[in-house]
Symmetry: C2
Subunit: 301 residues, 2 copies
């Protein structure tokens, strides 16, 4: 049963857990108020689906709470186009929502399903596991800095970095493929350094990253110095790639599983015993980052 009554009614198959995640995007904080509404509709759903991807869940349903300064039909049409194109792609049904007047913001709640015991968690990393990420890192942050006028990106790469910021692709298939392979996982929303620290802390292990192994796009290496690239890759938010750890014994399965869903991935370090935290190595030597993470004030409650 969909919208119309006071609640949506959802039927959950037996032996299945429901995975739920909520995110709010606020104009001026998480996106520019004049952002293309089609891109914004896509993005609002994508960042939430990314949380399902991080757990290995199958997307099922979504609620949308939209707050708008005024009813602007053209804007709404664009927003819905971006939102529902992605929703249809992953077969996610809109089951409810709310539309209110006020300063532009969007709160999306996604519901996914997971076979019992199969969730990818943050607390399973063990000493000896490899650390991996999907895709390339820092491109969304590069796109943002370019839009802010802080970094010049050559015309050749502008569409790419803009797309990485505006059209993130939630790694749903990769997350599902990792269910029986990864020992821990999360999605990169706030930046690799901070996000990986959550795995280290939840698993009580030490993560050692080899910076020269961080996957960087040509757009990145063409636009900034190596130091800047590492800074963006480590602390730039909004990549929505997956970061995950895999025991050595599952390494072969990993190659097969991610090749199967066509997702590029890179080993960027390993988990060791020791004080919980993240350690950076550049060419084998300890590396100190000038850490000014792009803080958009988001925090789990």
């Amino acid at each position: 049963m969909g919208p119309g009554d006071d609640c949506a009614l959802l039927q959950i198959p037996p032996n299945t857990l429901l995975a739920v995640s909520t995110d709010t995007l606020v104009a001026g904080i998480h996106f520019f108020a004049d952002m293309d509404p089609v891109a914004l509709g896509h993005r609002a759903l994508a960042v939430n689906l990314s949380d399902l991807a991080a757990m290995g869940a199958d997307p099922c349903w979504v609620s949308l709470a939209l707050t708008l300064p005024e009813v602007d039909e053209a804007w709404l049409k664009g927003f819905c186009e971006g939102f529902f194109e992605l929703a249809e792609y992953y077969n996610v049904a809109l089951v409810g929502g709310d539309m209110t007047r006020g300063p532009l913001s969007i709160t999306v709640t996604v519901h996914g399903s997971l076979p019992e015991g199969k969730a990818l968690r943050r607390n399973g990393a063990k000493a000896g596991d490899g650390i991996y990420v999907t895709g390339t890192l820092g491109d969304a942050a590069l796109g943002l800095q370019q839009q802010l006028g802080n970094i010049a990106v050559s015309e050749l790469h502008q569409a790419f970095v803009r797309t990485k910021f505006e059209h993130p692709h939630p790694r749903i298939l990769a997350g599902q493929a990792l269910r029986d392979i990864a020992s821990s996982a999360l999605d990169l929303s706030d930046g690799l350094l901070g996000d990986l620290a959550h795995i280290a802390s939840a698993s009580d292990v030490r993560a050692v990253l080899k910076l020269e192994q961080l996957p960087l796009s040509t757009a990145m290496t063409d636009s900034v110095t190596q130091e800047q690239a590492w800074q963006l890759a480590l602390t730039g938010g909004d990549d929505y790639e997956l970061c995950f750890t895999v025991p050595e014994m599952h390494r072969g399965q990993l190659e097969t599983a991610l090749a199967h869903c066509g997702v590029k991935f890179t080993r960027i370090g390993r988990i060791v015993a020791g004080e919980a935290g993240v350690e950076l190595l550049a060419d084998g030597k300890p590396y100190q980052l000038d850490a000014r993470s792009w803080d958009h004030f988001r925090s789990g409650i």
Copy 2:
């Protein structure tokens, strides 16, 4: 599993449906920005629980997305006090959320459970059914008009109407008690006239209301004329009482069930065959309302 990972994981018992509802409250639209944070925390959860009540569902879990102009510890403490006091009362667990910076607004998503086939819907009203409401009507609107300086309420009644606006009590127990008794139900959020029209439309029936039977508080009858009282009762929003229809054969059960949970209720009219809509009678004669519903721009999506 609660907050910490990317999603909350919820286990739904077999043969149970999940009822989900989302509502956004925006400062300046749904509440005054300087509203007592304790009351606001209560209210933000209460209006969502009311949607579960309307379906007859058991409240289970809640997600909270909070957007604040700045981190104000004292305000947050108050908000959480109001929110969690009500959450604990109904044994609702916080399973996730998001905190962002921006203009003050609150989006709450509640999850409840329902035995299969037991949901109270809007489309089950039949000719011959009685129309009922819980509590008294229009008091929250009266409280709002008093705060806006449009209606004078004597000191004796000010605390009462303020409480009706700020501390609505979701009719959870009444909703559950009505599961096998009512043919349709919803909660009164936008005003009796508009909300009952939803039942009439979904059920394709005509609702005939007898205005002199509308339950009015002493605060109401002491503060305004009968015409004004009917106006507030019919079009004032935010009552969060239940409106429901009951077949004659269940009338006895109704008395017992609602007496059992201590909820006052009143028969205010009946369902007849005919063109879908709501008809008003005052002392048996057709009554025309000067209908200016208190529109807060809320609409189902």
